[in-house]
């Protein structure tokens, strides 16, 4: 495996969008599942699958809070996820040779 390989976990367009959206938040901020779904335009089931993959790699963290009868899931990028996205964009830029 060469070092400049593109992280396959991030490279999938939908996950790239998820990670990029979360990365745009200031450190420590979270995004609710519904808001993220609105922004990305995926079905809930689809989004959950991608989020689970990212969470298994520790790229994102999710938290479920119960507020009375309503439970809200929020997601955030972890430090590891932010680093992975940084490495990914760098690899992509290197690959494109500053085009």
């Amino acid at each position: 495996m060469n070092d400049d390989a593109l992280d396959p976990l991030i490279h999938v367009p939908t996950r790239l969008k998820i990670v990029a959206t979360l990365a745009a938040l200031p450190d420590g901020d979270t995004l609710s599942f519904t808001r993220l779904q609105d922004m990305i335009g995926l079905t809930p089931g689809n989004l959950i699958i991608h989020l689970r993959k990212l969470e298994e790699a520790d790229y994102i963290s999710s938290e479920k809070t119960r507020n009375g009868t309503v439970s809200v899931t929020t997601v955030a990028l972890t430090g590891q996820g932010r680093e992975a996205l940084g490495a990914y964009t760098q690899a992509l830029r290197d690959l494109l040779g500053g085009l």
Binding site: H11, A20, L25, G28, D29, Q37, G41, G86, L95, L99
Partner: protein
């Protein structure tokens, strides 16, 4: 084409490598397939398959030259170059850990309606996130909407984290939210009547 989605033909890692190598050539120059394989470091046979896919889309042009020791050369077409340009433009939407081209405007630079609106939207987001009380929001909105310079705008948000990048993503064309049990069968943003446009 829906906005923000990377061109799947270019996004594939192997094809991306090939297109990037070909794009580095001066316009009109071609590479032999063997040389391309060396440059990209792809496994043997792989470039041929990827070139066929790119060729079908009209992104690359393959020519056989020479007599008894024929050689295949490839070059990026105008179409391929345009597709790569669109692809790299998409990269600019990535909020990058290390991007140095973001320069805040000078404090005494005049602010326009778009700047005031963006700053007001950021305040609204901070209020929704519980960083501001309703009273504070009102005071700051007043200050923001009457600000004439970028300095005054940043004054109203100086103790708040920067949401510019995030709001830039929110303001992308809104997409219809998928409803449970409702299958559209088409990607969001797909408009059949615009199919032959551009």
């Amino acid at each position: 084409m829906s906005t923000g989605a990377p061109d799947p033909l270019i996004h594939d890692p192997e094809r991306l490598r090939i297109v990037a190598s070909l794009a580095a050539l001066p316009d009109g120059d071609a590479l032999t397939v063997t040389r391309l394989q060396d440059m990209t470091g792809l496994p043997p046979g792989s470039p041929i398959c990827r070139l066929r896919e790119l060729g079908t889309a009209g992104y690359v042009r393959t020519e056989i030259t020479g007599g008894h020791r024929a050689q295949a050369t490839v070059a990026l077409t105008r179409l391929g170059r345009a597709a790569l340009d669109r692809y790299t433009a998409m990269l600019r939407h990535l909020p990058p850990a290390a991007r140095q081209d973001h320069q805040p405007p000078a404090p005494d630079a005049r602010a326009g309606d778009a700047d005031r609106d963006a700053a007001a939207a950021a305040l609204g987001e901070h209020f929704a996130r519980g960083r501001l009380t309703l009273d504070e929001l009102c005071v700051r909105l007043d200050a923001t909407l009457t600000a004439t310079t970028h300095g005054e705008l940043s004054q109203a948000a100086q103790d708040l984290p920067d949401l510019t990048l995030f709001l830039a993503q929110v303001s992308l064309p809104p997409r219809k939210r998928a409803r449970p049990g409702h299958k559209t069968g088409k990607p969001p943003g797909h408009r059949p009547w615009q199919h032959h446009h551009g």
